[in-house]
C-alpha cells in the first residue's frame, strides 16, 4: 500500500466521521440543541462566578441571605434588635435608615439618618459627607424579606466603609420590641 493510498483512506475516514457527526447533529431536534446551549451556559456561569471577585454562592448564605458576594459575607453581619438597642443606648453606632423618605418622615429611630436605598444614585452624592467611615453604621429597613439595607451595605463596602451591621428584621423588629422612636421617645428606656 502506498503512502498516497494511505492518506486517501485517512481522508475518506475523516470525511465519513464528519458526515456522521453532521448527520447526528442534523437529527438533534431543537429541544435537545437548546438543552445543549443551556449546558454550555451552566459551564460558563460556573467558571465566570468562580473567577468573579464579586461572585456569589449558588445557594443562599447560611443565614438565608441572597445576593451577597462571598467576599462580603463576614463583613456585613446581621445583628438582632437587642444588640442594636445596646449600641443605640451606648451611642457607639450611627443608625442609617434605608427606607423611603416618606416612611422615615413618618417615624424612625431617633438620631438615624435617612439614605433611601431606592433612590441611592440621586441621594448618595449629597449624603456621603454625612457618613463617617470611622463609626459603626447600623443599617435598617422595613423588615422581613426587605433587602434594602443589605444592598446599601454592599454599596458602602465597595466605597470603603468597613464598620457595618444590618439590623435583622429592621424597623419592624424595633417597633415590636417597643424601643424608642422619634414619635415615642420614652419607650423601652
Amino acid at each position: 500500500m502506498t503512502a498516497d493510498s494511505n492518506s486517501m483512506r485517512t481522508e475518506a475516514i475523516t470525511q465519513d466521521e464528519m458526515s456522521l457527526v453532521r448527520r447526528v447533529v442534523r437529527r438533534v431536534p431543537n429541544g435537545t440543541r437548546a438543552a445543549a446551549l443551556v449546558g454550555v451556559a451552566v459551564a460558563l456561569a460556573a467558571v465566570s462566578n468562580a473567577l468573579n471577585p464579586l461572585g456569589i454562592r449558588w445557594t443562599a448564605a447560611p443565614d438565608g441571605r441572597v445576593g451577597i458576594p462571598r467576599a462580603f459575607e463576614s463583613r456585613l453581619p446581621e445583628i438582632d434588635v437587642t444588640k442594636a438597642f445596646t449600641l443605640y443606648r451606648s451611642g457607639d453606632a450611627l443608625f442609617v435608615d434605608s427606607r423611603d423618605q416618606k416612611d422615615y418622615d413618618e417615624d424612625h429611630i431617633p438620631g438615624a439618618i435617612n439614605i433611601p436605598m431606592r433612590r441611592w444614585d440621586e441621594v448618595w452624592p449629597a449624603m456621603q459627607f454625612r457618613l463617617p467611615k470611622s463609626r459603626l453604621l447600623v443599617l435598617y429597613c422595613y423588615g422581613a424579606r426587605c433587602g434594602l439595607s443589605t444592598r446599601q451595605g454592599k454599596r458602602l463596602l465597595e466605597l470603603g466603609y468597613e464598620h457595618l451591621a444590618v439590623l435583622d428584621y429592621g424597623w419592624k423588629a424595633w417597633r415590636e420590641a417597643g424601643y424608642p422612636t422619634l414619635k415615642h421617645p420614652e419607650e423601652g428606656l
Binding site: N30, A34, A41, V42, L44, S48, V66, R145
Partner: protein
C-alpha cells in the same frame, strides 16, 4: 426567479431579525454577568423564587441569555437559540405581569442592574417583551 428572490429576501430578513435579537440578548446579559449579586437582589424583588434558588437563577439566567444571543448573532443553531429566546421572553413576561398585578414597585433588571434609577417593571416593558417574543418565535419556527 421571483420565488427565488422572495426566498432570499425572507432568509436575509430572518438573519437580520436573528442578529438584532441576539445582540439584544448579549447586551442584556453583560451587566448581570458582571454583577450577579445585584441581579440576585432584583430576582429576589420579583418574589417568585424561594431564597434557596435565587442565587442560582441569578448566576445561570444571564449566561443563558449570553449563549442564546451569541448563537443568534453567529447564526449557529439558530432555531434552538430562537426556542430558548422565546422561553426566556415568556419567563420575563410572566415575571413582569405578576409583579404588576401584585403591585410590586421594583426595578426591571432587564439591561441594567447597577443603577437605582433604571427602568421599573411595567406594562410597557411587557409590550416590548411581546415584540421580542414574536421575533424569537419567528426565528425558531421559520429560520
Amino acid at each position: 426567479m421571483c420565488a427565488i428572490r422572495r426566498a432570499t429576501a425572507r432568509a436575509i430578513a430572518l438573519r437580520v431579525i436573528g442578529i438584532a435579537l441576539g445582540a439584544t440578548f448579549v447586551y442584556a446579559s453583560l451587566d448581570k454577568i458582571a454583577r450577579p449579586d445585584r441581579f440576585a437582589d432584583i430576582v429576589n424583588d420579583y418574589q417568585m423564587l424561594p431564597a434557596l434558588f435565587v442565587n442560582a437563577f441569578a448566576l445561570l439566567m444571564p449566561w443563558v441569555e449570553m449563549v442564546t444571543g451569541a448563537a443568534l448573532v453567529l447564526g449557529v443553531w439558530r432555531r434552538a437559540a430562537g426556542l430558548l429566546a422565546a422561553a426566556l421572553t415568556v419567563a420575563f413576561m410572566v415575571a413582569i405581569a405578576q409583579a404588576r398585578l401584585r403591585g410590586l414597585d421594583i426595578e426591571c433588571g432587564c439591561f441594567d442592574v447597577s443603577s437605582t434609577s433604571s427602568t421599573k417593571a411595567s406594562w410597557s416593558l411587557f409590550a416590548r417583551d411581546a415584540v421580542l417574543l414574536a421575533a424569537s418565535v419567528l426565528v425558531w419556527r421559520r429560520a
